[in-house]
């Protein structure tokens, strides 16, 4: 077995599974890893674990039967590419969301991004890895939808962290960073971006640990909370769906997703994973001022709304609706607003989400 194959199998032991089919690593994923890690790096990394399986330099050197200084040198080089996660003298292979997006804008290294994109399409879509990426084996989604207050009807109960502005303002730190959206970057590279004329590639808002990791690798631009909120609003206005980790605090990302490019939302719009991305606890309600123009239906990524101008009907499928509030942004008569409908329960903390994903994937987490 090659070092790259061993890395793939080791990654598959982490709480979020890796692209491994019937116990064998997906050949396309192994080739992707070969783009990311040189043979010299892979020779060391094959003794390491996926996030959060941290090992000290000494532990890795012991396992690899190599000199500590030599290991440190190799790992420091890998760190410059952002292809490893470091906590002082402890290291691990990055979590899958970072690893899979390194060649799509989350690293300054010169990877063969065309080939990486094609391989990603092969193991992610063709081999159906997206199911394991978006949800656990039991269907627990790792991301959830997050609307903004402007879309929510006045007087509706909004819990802490349920709304984008609240979430950002309630962060207990100032580590926020904008970095290119890897999903749209990848599709653009492959010449397959369907939303090219509608949306910019734009950025994701990285928070806390992920912001610090990207910043230390020289990726992205640090922003204030206000700048992050303004950016979120600007993208939401363009019709992009706000999404964040499926937890109430410790969030590490806020994505602004389109149904054509997003690796998570795509589960609902392009692939057969209907529980991908948890819906928000809101649903649009229509006022009598509705003129049945159908703009909301055309903007809905998940086809939850059907409008008939002739028959003057408006129908909403609550099973499909994400409660993102994008429809409210495009209503010319401001007839749509989000009303509360409790239906999901985000995890209270990062550990509780990751432990659940691990348990449902038959893995362990810390």
């Amino acid at each position: 077995m090659s070092p790259h194959e061993t890395i793939a199998l080791n990654l598959n032991q982490a709480f979020r599974k890796a692209p491994v089919l019937n116990g064998n690593p997906s050949p396309a994923f192994v080739q992707y890893l070969e783009i990311i890690y040189t043979p010299e790096e892979a020779a060391i990394l094959q003794y390491m674990k996926g996030y959060p399986g941290f090992m000290t330099t000494r532990q890795i050197a012991g396992a690899a039967k190599a000199h500590e200084q030599e290991v440190k040198l190799v790992l420091s080089g890998t760190l410059k590419k952002n292809a490893i996660t470091q906590m002082g003298n402890a290291w691990c292979i990055p979590a899958m969301p970072l690893l899979l997006n390194l060649a799509a804008g989350l690293s300054n290294a010169k990877f063969d991004i065309q080939r990486a994109g094609k391989l990603h399409r092969e193991f992610f879509v063709a081999d159906k890895y997206y199911k394991h990426y978006q949800t656990s084996e039991a269907g627990t989604p790792s991301l959830r939808t997050i609307p903004i207050q402007k879309s929510i009807a006045p007087g509706e109960k909004i819990l802490s962290s349920e709304e984008a502005h609240e979430l950002i303002n309630n962060l207990n730190h100032e580590d926020l960073l904008l970095a290119p959206c890897p999903c749209r970057t990848r599709q653009e590279t492959l010449g397959a971006r369907q939303c090219k004329d509608k949306n910019p590639i734009g950025s994701c808002i990285f928070l806390g640990l992920s912001a610090l990791q990207l910043e230390s690798a020289g990726v992205g631009r640090r922003v204030t909370k206000k700048e992050a909120i303004d950016y979120f609003d600007e993208m939401h206005k363009k019709g992009l769906v706000g999404a964040t980790d499926n937890m109430a605090r410790d969030n590490v990302i806020i994505c602004l997703c389109c149904g054509c490019c997003c690796s998570h939302l795509g589960g609902r719009t392009r692939w057969d994973n209907p529980t991908a991305m948890a819906p928000a606890n809101f649903i649009p309600r229509r006022a009598d001022t509705c003129v049945h123009c159908g703009k909301c239906a055309r903007r809905c990524w998940v086809q939850a709304i059907t409008v008939s101008p002739k028959e003057k009907t408006f129908n909403l499928d609550p099973e499909k609706c994400l409660g993102c509030g994008v429809c409210t942004q495009f209503c010319p008569t401001e007839s749509l607003s989000l009303k509360r409908m409790d239906r999901t329960r985000p995890f209270p903390s990062q550990d509780s989400l990751y432990k659940t994903l691990a348990r449902e994937n038959n893995r362990t987490y810390l």
Partner: protein, 132 residues
């Protein structure tokens, strides 16, 4: 004063571990089958936490050799980071060489994850954040 506060914090963590072990099944599950001796050290201040045969012991017998340790450069940083409630502060301390890990790194991350779970349990936030 900082040293004293840190000493108190390290002792309080030990008491919380002992208390939570008897109160929360999740914590007992975490300790199950574990044999770990974890040392937190900052300057001359240090505290060892021993889990033997799946049970946390406040003091009791002679402690075995440490299986892992988190060594801070100074008590001030240790106190500030360990009470901040933000994981990024730990990462920044590591980036600035203000802390380093000895022994089994995973044990340290496991230990802090356990403390977070205890904190959530004590504050009740695991249950009250989302009433759905």
């Amino acid at each position: 004063m900082t040293r004293l506060k840190l000493k108190f914090l390290l002792l309080a963590l030990a008491v919380a571990l002992k208390f939570s072990q008897s109160r929360y099944p999740g914590i007992r599950e975490r300790f199950k089958g574990k044999n770990r001796t974890i040392k937190i050290k900052a300057g001359k201040t240090e505290k060892t936490y021993t889990i033997r045969n799946g049970r946390f012991h406040l003091t009791a017998f002679r402690e075995p050799a440490c299986t892992s340790g988190l060594i801070w450069t100074d008590p001030g940083t240790a106190l500030a980071v360990m009470t901040s409630g933000y994981d990024g502060d730990m990462m920044k301390a590591f980036q600035n060489n203000q802390a380093r890990i000895q022994g089994d790194a995973m044990e340290i991350f496991w230990f802090f994850s356990t403390l977070k779970e205890i904190k959530d349990g004590l504050s009740g936030s695991l249950h009250k954040t989302w009433p759905v």
